[in-house]
Protein backbone atom coordinates (compact mmCIF):
# COMPACT_ATOMS: atom_id res chain seq x y z
CA UNK A 1 0.00 0.00 0.00
CA UNK A 2 2.88 2.33 0.86
CA UNK A 3 4.58 1.66 -2.41
CA UNK A 4 1.35 2.48 -4.23
CA UNK A 5 1.18 5.81 -2.40
CA UNK A 6 4.86 6.55 -3.09
CA UNK A 7 4.48 5.74 -6.74
CA UNK A 8 1.47 8.05 -7.03
CA UNK A 9 3.30 10.91 -5.30
CA UNK A 10 6.21 10.43 -7.67
CA UNK A 11 4.09 10.16 -10.82
CA UNK A 12 1.73 13.02 -9.98
CA UNK A 13 4.68 15.42 -10.06
CA UNK A 14 6.20 13.94 -13.22
CA UNK A 15 6.08 15.50 -16.68
CA UNK A 16 4.36 12.33 -17.96
CA UNK A 17 1.36 12.91 -15.70
CA UNK A 18 0.86 16.52 -16.74
CA UNK A 19 1.36 15.78 -20.42
CA UNK A 20 -1.22 13.00 -20.15
CA UNK A 21 -3.54 15.27 -18.17
CA UNK A 22 -3.36 17.94 -20.92
CA UNK A 23 -4.18 15.45 -23.68
CA UNK A 24 -6.91 13.68 -21.71
CA UNK A 25 -8.59 16.96 -20.71
CA UNK A 26 -8.58 18.05 -24.34
CA UNK A 27 -10.01 14.69 -25.51
CA UNK A 28 -12.77 15.00 -22.95
CA UNK A 29 -13.59 18.59 -23.94
CA UNK A 30 -13.49 17.66 -27.65
CA UNK A 31 -15.81 14.69 -27.13
CA UNK A 32 -18.31 16.98 -25.40
CA UNK A 33 -17.94 19.55 -28.20
CA UNK A 34 -18.66 16.86 -30.85
CA UNK A 35 -21.53 15.37 -28.90
CA UNK A 36 -23.28 18.73 -28.61
CA UNK A 37 -23.24 19.28 -32.36
CA UNK A 38 -20.02 21.33 -32.40
CA UNK A 39 -21.62 24.20 -30.53
CA UNK A 40 -18.94 26.96 -30.56
CA UNK A 41 -19.91 27.91 -27.01
CA UNK A 42 -18.46 24.58 -25.81
CA UNK A 43 -15.00 25.57 -27.07
CA UNK A 44 -12.61 22.64 -26.43
CA UNK A 45 -9.73 24.92 -25.38
CA UNK A 46 -11.89 26.48 -22.68
CA UNK A 47 -13.20 23.08 -21.53
CA UNK A 48 -9.71 21.57 -21.37
CA UNK A 49 -8.29 24.58 -19.50
CA UNK A 50 -11.09 24.35 -16.92
CA UNK A 51 -10.42 20.64 -16.35
CA UNK A 52 -6.65 21.13 -16.04
CA UNK A 53 -7.04 24.12 -13.71
CA UNK A 54 -9.44 22.13 -11.52
CA UNK A 55 -6.99 19.21 -11.27
CA UNK A 56 -4.05 21.53 -10.49
CA UNK A 57 -6.00 23.36 -7.79
CA UNK A 58 -7.24 20.09 -6.23
CA UNK A 59 -3.76 18.50 -6.23
CA UNK A 60 -2.13 21.80 -5.15
CA UNK A 61 0.27 21.69 -8.08
CA UNK A 62 1.99 24.90 -9.13
CA UNK A 63 2.03 26.06 -12.74
CA UNK A 64 5.79 25.54 -13.13
CA UNK A 65 5.50 21.84 -12.28
CA UNK A 66 2.56 21.46 -14.64
CA UNK A 67 4.42 23.22 -17.45
CA UNK A 68 7.35 20.79 -17.26
CA UNK A 69 5.02 18.22 -18.77
CA UNK A 70 2.82 20.52 -20.83
CA UNK A 71 5.77 22.22 -22.55
CA UNK A 72 5.97 19.37 -25.07
CA UNK A 73 2.53 20.34 -26.34
CA UNK A 74 3.23 24.07 -26.00
CA UNK A 75 6.39 23.72 -28.07
CA UNK A 76 4.41 22.57 -31.12
CA UNK A 77 2.72 26.00 -31.40
CA UNK A 78 5.74 27.32 -33.32
CA UNK A 79 5.84 24.51 -35.93
CA UNK A 80 2.03 24.68 -36.27
CA UNK A 81 2.27 28.40 -37.04
CA UNK A 82 4.87 27.68 -39.73
CA UNK A 83 2.61 24.94 -41.15
CA UNK A 84 -0.13 27.55 -41.75
CA UNK A 85 1.86 28.33 -44.92
CA UNK A 86 0.30 25.22 -46.52
CA UNK A 87 -3.38 26.32 -46.47
CA UNK A 88 -2.21 29.87 -47.22
CA UNK A 89 -0.34 28.67 -50.32
CA UNK A 90 -3.46 26.86 -51.56
CA UNK A 91 -5.44 30.11 -51.27
CA UNK A 92 -2.69 32.34 -52.60
CA UNK A 93 -4.39 33.28 -55.89
CA UNK A 94 -7.46 34.35 -53.97
CA UNK A 95 -5.36 36.31 -51.45
CA UNK A 96 -3.60 38.19 -54.25
CA UNK A 97 -6.85 39.08 -56.00
CA UNK A 98 -8.26 40.64 -52.85
CA UNK A 99 -5.02 42.14 -51.50
CA UNK A 100 -6.38 45.68 -51.19
CA UNK A 101 -9.61 44.57 -49.49
CA UNK A 102 -7.51 42.49 -47.06
CA UNK A 103 -5.17 45.39 -46.25
CA UNK A 104 -7.99 47.88 -45.58
CA UNK A 105 -10.16 45.44 -43.57
CA UNK A 106 -7.20 44.27 -41.52
CA UNK A 107 -6.09 47.79 -40.66
CA UNK A 108 -9.62 48.79 -39.68
CA UNK A 109 -9.98 45.62 -37.60
CA UNK A 110 -6.62 46.09 -35.92
CA UNK A 111 -7.45 49.66 -34.84
CA UNK A 112 -10.96 48.63 -33.75
CA UNK A 113 -9.54 45.84 -31.58
CA UNK A 114 -7.18 48.23 -29.80
CA UNK A 115 -9.42 51.28 -29.41
CA UNK A 116 -12.67 49.52 -28.45
CA UNK A 117 -10.97 47.46 -25.71
CA UNK A 118 -9.13 50.46 -24.26
CA UNK A 119 -12.23 52.67 -24.39
CA UNK A 120 -14.51 50.18 -22.58
CA UNK A 121 -11.94 49.45 -19.87
CA UNK A 122 -11.28 53.19 -19.42
CA UNK A 123 -15.01 53.92 -19.05
CA UNK A 124 -15.16 51.25 -16.34
CA UNK A 125 -12.24 52.75 -14.47
CA UNK A 126 -9.32 50.57 -15.57
CA UNK A 127 -5.89 51.83 -14.50
CA UNK A 128 -3.31 52.90 -17.09
CA UNK A 129 -1.33 49.68 -16.50
CA UNK A 130 -4.51 47.66 -17.14
CA UNK A 131 -5.22 49.64 -20.33
CA UNK A 132 -1.67 49.09 -21.59
CA UNK A 133 -1.90 45.36 -20.83
CA UNK A 134 -5.21 45.17 -22.66
CA UNK A 135 -4.42 47.17 -25.81
CA UNK A 136 -2.54 44.42 -27.74
CA UNK A 137 -4.88 41.56 -26.68
CA UNK A 138 -5.94 40.53 -30.20
CA UNK A 139 -2.38 39.68 -31.23
CA UNK A 140 -0.62 36.33 -30.82
CA UNK A 141 0.87 36.04 -27.30
CA UNK A 142 4.64 36.55 -27.78
CA UNK A 143 4.12 39.75 -29.79
CA UNK A 144 1.36 41.05 -27.51
CA UNK A 145 3.58 40.59 -24.44
CA UNK A 146 6.43 42.52 -26.07
CA UNK A 147 4.11 45.40 -27.01
CA UNK A 148 2.51 45.53 -23.53
CA UNK A 149 5.94 45.82 -21.97
CA UNK A 150 6.80 48.76 -24.25
CA UNK A 151 3.58 50.55 -23.27
CA UNK A 152 4.10 50.08 -19.55
CA UNK A 153 1.66 47.17 -19.10
CA UNK A 154 2.10 43.80 -17.40
CA UNK A 155 3.23 41.20 -19.97
CA UNK A 156 2.06 38.20 -17.94
CA UNK A 157 -1.43 39.72 -17.57
CA UNK A 158 -1.43 40.38 -21.32
CA UNK A 159 -0.71 36.68 -21.96
CA UNK A 160 -3.89 35.72 -20.08
CA UNK A 161 -5.97 38.41 -21.83
CA UNK A 162 -4.71 37.16 -25.21
CA UNK A 163 -5.83 33.61 -24.47
CA UNK A 164 -9.24 34.72 -23.18
CA UNK A 165 -9.71 36.90 -26.28
CA UNK A 166 -8.86 33.93 -28.50
CA UNK A 167 -11.38 31.70 -26.75
CA UNK A 168 -14.06 34.43 -26.89
CA UNK A 169 -13.49 34.94 -30.61
CA UNK A 170 -13.73 31.20 -31.33
CA UNK A 171 -16.87 30.92 -29.17
CA UNK A 172 -18.79 34.03 -30.24
CA UNK A 173 -17.31 34.84 -33.66
CA UNK A 174 -19.38 32.44 -35.80
CA UNK A 175 -22.63 33.70 -34.22
CA UNK A 176 -21.74 37.40 -34.74
CA UNK A 177 -20.80 36.77 -38.37
CA UNK A 178 -24.10 34.92 -38.96
CA UNK A 179 -26.05 37.79 -37.40
CA UNK A 180 -24.22 40.37 -39.54
CA UNK A 181 -24.85 38.35 -42.69
CA UNK A 182 -21.16 37.75 -43.38
CA UNK A 183 -21.26 34.60 -45.54
CA UNK A 184 -18.02 34.99 -47.53
CA UNK A 185 -15.51 32.47 -46.14
CA UNK A 186 -12.62 34.85 -46.79
CA UNK A 187 -14.29 37.59 -44.73
CA UNK A 188 -15.24 35.16 -41.95
CA UNK A 189 -11.66 33.87 -41.70
CA UNK A 190 -10.08 37.32 -41.87
CA UNK A 191 -12.38 38.62 -39.12
CA UNK A 192 -11.72 35.70 -36.76
CA UNK A 193 -7.95 35.79 -37.31
CA UNK A 194 -7.72 39.57 -36.81
CA UNK A 195 -9.71 39.53 -33.56
CA UNK A 196 -8.61 36.24 -32.03
CA UNK A 197 -5.24 35.13 -33.48
CA UNK A 198 -4.27 31.43 -33.31
CA UNK A 199 -7.14 30.12 -31.20
CA UNK A 200 -9.62 31.62 -33.66
CA UNK A 201 -7.55 30.26 -36.55
CA UNK A 202 -7.52 26.75 -35.10
CA UNK A 203 -11.31 26.88 -34.97
CA UNK A 204 -11.63 28.37 -38.48
CA UNK A 205 -9.42 25.60 -39.91
CA UNK A 206 -11.82 22.97 -38.58
CA UNK A 207 -14.75 24.57 -40.36
CA UNK A 208 -13.41 25.56 -43.78
CA UNK A 209 -9.99 25.62 -45.45
CA UNK A 210 -10.50 29.03 -47.06
CA UNK A 211 -11.54 30.52 -43.72
CA UNK A 212 -8.55 28.86 -42.04
CA UNK A 213 -6.07 30.22 -44.59
CA UNK A 214 -7.44 33.77 -44.37
CA UNK A 215 -7.53 33.55 -40.59
CA UNK A 216 -3.89 32.46 -40.41
CA UNK A 217 -2.96 35.28 -42.78
CA UNK A 218 -4.87 37.82 -40.67
CA UNK A 219 -3.16 36.54 -37.51
CA UNK A 220 0.30 37.16 -39.00
CA UNK A 221 -0.60 40.53 -40.53
CA UNK A 222 -2.29 41.79 -37.38
CA UNK A 223 0.77 40.89 -35.31
CA UNK A 224 2.81 43.07 -37.66
CA UNK A 225 0.25 45.91 -37.88
CA UNK A 226 -0.30 46.12 -34.10
CA UNK A 227 3.42 45.94 -33.33
CA UNK A 228 4.06 48.88 -35.69
CA UNK A 229 0.93 50.97 -35.02
CA UNK A 230 0.19 50.62 -31.33
CA UNK A 231 3.44 52.12 -29.92
CA UNK A 232 3.00 55.04 -32.37
CA UNK A 233 -0.59 55.91 -31.39
CA UNK A 234 -0.35 55.06 -27.68
CA UNK A 235 0.84 58.52 -26.62
CA UNK A 236 -2.16 60.08 -28.37
CA UNK A 237 -4.59 57.56 -26.85
CA UNK A 238 -3.35 58.21 -23.31
CA UNK A 239 -3.48 61.99 -23.90
CA UNK A 240 -7.05 61.78 -25.25
CA UNK A 241 -8.24 59.74 -22.29
CA UNK A 242 -6.53 62.26 -20.00
CA UNK A 243 -5.06 59.56 -17.80
Amino acid sequence: MDSLQDTWVYLSASPLFHLTLTLAAFQLASALFEKMGRNPLLNPVLGAVLVVVAVLVLTETDYGTYFEGAQFVHFLLGPATVALAVPLYRQWQRVRRSALAIAVSLLAGSLTAILSAVLVAWLLGGSEAVLASLAPKSVTAPVAMGIAEKLGGLPSLTAVLVIVTGILGAMLGPKVLDMMGVVDWRARGLAIGTASHGIGTARALQVNETAGAFSGLAMGLNALATALLLPMIWGGVVWLLGS
Partner: protein
Protein backbone atom coordinates in the same frame (compact mmCIF):
# COMPACT_ATOMS: atom_id res chain seq x y z
CA UNK B 1 7.39 12.81 -42.94
CA UNK B 2 10.50 13.43 -40.84
CA UNK B 3 12.11 15.32 -43.70
CA UNK B 4 9.31 17.84 -43.90
CA UNK B 5 9.08 18.18 -40.13
CA UNK B 6 12.75 19.11 -40.29
CA UNK B 7 11.98 21.64 -43.03
CA UNK B 8 9.28 23.20 -40.84
CA UNK B 9 11.69 23.42 -37.90
CA UNK B 10 14.39 24.92 -40.13
CA UNK B 11 11.90 27.59 -41.29
CA UNK B 12 11.00 28.37 -37.69
CA UNK B 13 14.63 28.48 -36.59
CA UNK B 14 15.53 30.83 -39.46
CA UNK B 15 12.52 32.97 -38.54
CA UNK B 16 13.48 33.11 -34.85
CA UNK B 17 17.08 33.91 -35.73
CA UNK B 18 16.29 36.73 -38.15
CA UNK B 19 13.56 38.36 -36.04
CA UNK B 20 15.84 38.17 -33.01
CA UNK B 21 18.99 39.46 -34.72
CA UNK B 22 17.21 42.31 -36.53
CA UNK B 23 14.78 42.95 -33.65
CA UNK B 24 11.82 42.73 -36.03
CA UNK B 25 8.35 43.28 -34.50
CA UNK B 26 6.98 39.91 -35.71
CA UNK B 27 7.27 36.53 -33.98
CA UNK B 28 9.85 34.09 -35.36
CA UNK B 29 7.26 31.42 -36.33
CA UNK B 30 5.28 33.97 -38.38
CA UNK B 31 8.40 34.82 -40.40
CA UNK B 32 8.98 31.04 -40.61
CA UNK B 33 5.51 30.74 -42.17
CA UNK B 34 6.60 33.27 -44.81
CA UNK B 35 9.73 31.19 -45.53
CA UNK B 36 7.68 28.01 -45.97
CA UNK B 37 5.28 29.91 -48.24
CA UNK B 38 8.22 31.05 -50.40
CA UNK B 39 9.48 27.44 -50.52
CA UNK B 40 6.05 26.28 -51.74
CA UNK B 41 5.95 29.01 -54.39
CA UNK B 42 9.35 27.94 -55.67
CA UNK B 43 8.24 24.28 -55.69
CA UNK B 44 4.97 25.18 -57.42
CA UNK B 45 2.94 22.57 -55.49
CA UNK B 46 2.50 21.10 -52.01
CA UNK B 47 4.45 17.81 -51.68
CA UNK B 48 2.13 15.09 -50.37
CA UNK B 49 4.30 14.27 -47.36
CA UNK B 50 4.48 17.95 -46.36
CA UNK B 51 0.72 18.13 -46.68
CA UNK B 52 0.35 15.20 -44.26
CA UNK B 53 2.82 16.69 -41.77
CA UNK B 54 1.18 20.13 -41.85
CA UNK B 55 -2.27 18.58 -41.57
CA UNK B 56 -1.19 16.60 -38.51
CA UNK B 57 0.00 19.78 -36.79
CA UNK B 58 -2.97 21.94 -37.80
CA UNK B 59 -5.74 19.43 -37.12
CA UNK B 60 -4.97 19.51 -33.39
CA UNK B 61 -3.89 23.15 -33.22
CA UNK B 62 -6.51 23.97 -30.55
CA UNK B 63 -4.86 21.51 -28.15
CA UNK B 64 -1.61 23.45 -28.35
CA UNK B 65 -3.14 26.46 -26.57
CA UNK B 66 -4.16 24.51 -23.46
CA UNK B 67 -0.82 24.87 -21.55
CA UNK B 68 -0.72 28.64 -22.15
CA UNK B 69 -4.40 28.96 -21.26
CA UNK B 70 -3.81 27.15 -17.99
CA UNK B 71 -1.46 30.04 -17.12
CA UNK B 72 -4.62 31.83 -16.02
CA UNK B 73 -4.08 30.28 -12.57
CA UNK B 74 -1.12 32.61 -12.11
CA UNK B 75 -3.43 35.63 -12.28
CA UNK B 76 -6.59 34.66 -10.41
CA UNK B 77 -6.13 37.53 -7.94
CA UNK B 78 -5.36 40.25 -10.48
CA UNK B 79 -8.22 39.09 -12.70
CA UNK B 80 -10.59 39.10 -9.75
CA UNK B 81 -9.71 42.70 -8.92
CA UNK B 82 -10.30 44.05 -12.44
CA UNK B 83 -12.88 41.51 -13.56
CA UNK B 84 -15.56 43.94 -14.77
CA UNK B 85 -13.43 46.36 -16.85
CA UNK B 86 -11.33 43.54 -18.30
CA UNK B 87 -14.17 41.10 -18.94
CA UNK B 88 -16.48 43.61 -20.57
CA UNK B 89 -13.66 45.17 -22.59
CA UNK B 90 -12.67 41.76 -23.99
CA UNK B 91 -16.21 40.70 -24.88
CA UNK B 92 -17.25 44.02 -26.47
CA UNK B 93 -13.97 44.51 -28.32
CA UNK B 94 -13.92 40.96 -29.69
CA UNK B 95 -17.51 41.18 -30.97
CA UNK B 96 -17.05 44.65 -32.52
CA UNK B 97 -13.70 43.75 -34.12
CA UNK B 98 -15.11 40.59 -35.73
CA UNK B 99 -18.18 42.45 -37.02
CA UNK B 100 -16.21 45.42 -38.43
CA UNK B 101 -13.51 43.29 -40.09
CA UNK B 102 -15.95 40.73 -41.50
CA UNK B 103 -18.43 43.27 -42.89
CA UNK B 104 -15.70 45.44 -44.41
CA UNK B 105 -13.93 42.49 -46.03
CA UNK B 106 -17.16 41.08 -47.45
CA UNK B 107 -18.17 44.50 -48.80
CA UNK B 108 -14.75 45.39 -50.29
CA UNK B 109 -14.01 41.90 -51.54
CA UNK B 110 -17.19 41.34 -53.57
CA UNK B 111 -16.83 39.84 -57.00
CA UNK B 112 -13.73 37.83 -57.72
CA UNK B 113 -12.75 35.10 -55.33
CA UNK B 114 -15.85 35.25 -53.16
CA UNK B 115 -16.87 31.84 -51.84
CA UNK B 116 -19.98 31.54 -49.79
CA UNK B 117 -21.14 29.16 -47.15
CA UNK B 118 -22.29 29.03 -43.59
CA UNK B 119 -20.79 27.57 -40.45
Amino acid sequence: MLGYLTLILVCQLAGEFITGALMLPVPGPVLGMVFLLVFLMLRGHVPERLDQTADGLLRSMSLLFVPAGTGVILHFQLLGEALLPLGLALVVSTLVTIAVTGLLMQWLGTGEGAEKGDG
